[in-house]
């Protein structure tokens, strides 16, 4: 019991996820900069590792300004609700071993619900800060969500179809002989593209398009709310990549040699290596592409990705049966 609480708080719970969030932000800024010929963060800490933390702390002590037409209750309390979503979801992903901190037989369904809940909170947030930019942003956000949700859910559920269970833990344990990626590559591809849309990274950073609608739904936030919202977006990246590692890349499983080092170290190392590799893939894709328009993004999801994910799911069902 005590062990579970400790795990939930530190590793692989809250502290671990938040640290990974900062490290991912640093990695993203650094690799994106080097691929463009720039240097990225350099000053805060060795090679700029502490820069995301410095930005977070700086935002914490800035003044908070609220537009007069905004809905006060939602504006003040909803950012905290958005922050909880990826933290809770990380508890269900196995990190330090083949079993997760908290798991039950339907936790994949809970994950899907939490993804929907997070986007709902963002839509409410952007609508509540009533300015012309955020109104446009909330329209785009809802349209993008409606487009990517179904391919995302189908590609998440396809591994569950293969294993016959909705528990992430069991899906991970069923990959001890071969990874799901080899059996359902299209699901993996659809998941990565839908993940880019969910995290609002190019080519799908339409709801928070920096050069068109200032900052999209983040426009009217400042101070502590902005710090936590930005951190929540990074945690969303960490969670999305962790889920992909668990569902398609075999989670923390890998060959464990006999030695005096505790077996958790090996599992965590495998997990982190796979996580960073996936993160690098996402960063390369986001640096290489321009931003799409909302109509083209919706067309892409409905016309190409939805049939692809359905076809892959059908294929898996046929092979299994």
């Amino acid at each position: 019991m005590i062990l579970t609480i400790l795990q939930a708080l530190i590793l692989p719970g809250i502290a671990f996820t938040i640290t990974l969030g900062f490290i991912f932000e640093w990695l993203e800024r650094k690799t994106m900069a080097r691929m463009m010929g720039r240097v990225g963060p350099m000053v805060a800490g060795p090679a700029g590792v502490l820069q995301p933390l410095a930005d977070f702390v700086k935002l914490l002590y800035k003044e908070e300004v609220m537009p007069s037409f905004a809905d006060k209750t939602v504006f003040r309390y909803a950012p905290g609700l958005f922050f909880l979503a990826p933290l809770v979801s990380m508890l269900f992903v196995p990190v330090i071993g083949p079993s997760a901190v908290a798991s039950f037989s339907l936790d994949l369904l809970l994950i899907v619900f939490i993804l929907a809940y997070a986007t709902f909170v963002v839509a409410v947030l952007s609508y509540a800060s009533a300015s012309s930019f955020t109104t446009v942003a909330s329209g785009r956000l809802v349209l993008q969500y409606v487009s990517y949700e179904i391919p995302l859910v189908i590609s998440i559920v396809t591994p569950a179809l293969l294993v016959g269970s909705l528990s992430i833990q069991e899906i991970v344990q069923a990959q001890s002989s071969r990874w799901n990626l080899l059996l359902m590559p299209f699901s993996f591809a659809v998941y990565i593209v839908a993940l880019l849309a969910e995290l609002e990274k190019p080519p799908f950073d339409i709801p928070s398009a920096k050069t068109e609608i200032v900052a999209g739904w983040l426009t009217e936030f400042s101070g502590r709310a902005l710090a936590f919202l930005k951190l929540s977006k990074e945690l969303g990246l960490v969670f999305g990549a962790s889920l992909a590692v668990a569902l398609f890349l075999g989670g923390p499983l890998g060959p464990v040699p006999q030695s005096i080092v505790p077996v958790e170290i090996f599992y965590t190392t495998y997990f982190l290596v796979k996580l960073f590799a996936l993160g690098l893939l996402i960063f390369v894709v986001r640096t290489a592409l321009a931003r799409l328009k909302i109509i083209d993004a919706a067309v892409l999801f409905w016309k190409i990705l939805l049939p692809l994910s359905l076809a892959q799911a059908f294929f898996v069902l046929v092979v299994k049966g």
């Binding site: 691929m35 010929g37 240097v39 390369v284 894709v285 640096t287 290489a288």
Partner: protein, 128 residues
């Protein structure tokens, strides 16, 4: 031409391997060309106080100040020397080109920021 997704990727990988092109300023000194037009400098020995620089300056940053008198024949005429306000100077080089005595020069120094505006007034030519 055929449409491709990710035509930028090979170049991205190439740029990743090479060192970044960002100049290391302010941690490393900046490489400037020979003709860089920075801060104005005056040689007090060569300046005769003719006043042509003050006439041609486009932004009127040169003031001719009385520093004494000079003898011309048997008359006493006022002697004026220039005072340069470097905060207004645009480093265009008109005064440098028009000085007949080669007393003015544009150096390569450009870090002129200061907290006190009076630091920017150059009075070294105000000698008799």
């Amino acid at each position: 031409m055929p449409r491709k997704l990710g035509s930028a990727v090979p170049e991205m990988i190439r740029t990743l391997i090479q060192p970044p092109v960002t100049e290391g300023y302010p941690f490393k000194p900046l490489q400037l060309s020979e003709r860089f037009r920075g801060k104005l400098d005056v040689d007090p020995e060569r300046c005769t106080g003719c006043g042509v620089c003050a006439l041609v300056c486009p932004v009127f940053c040169i003031d001719m100040i009385d520093v004494g008198t000079r003898k011309v024949g048997d008359r006493e005429l006022p002697l004026k020397k220039p005072e340069f306000d470097l905060a207004i100077c645009i480093s265009c080089g008109e005064c440098v080109d028009n000085c007949a005595f080669n007393a003015l020069e544009l150096t390569r120094q450009f870090e002129l920021a200061t907290a006190n505006k009076q630091d920017m007034v150059m009075r070294k030519a105000l000698v008799k």
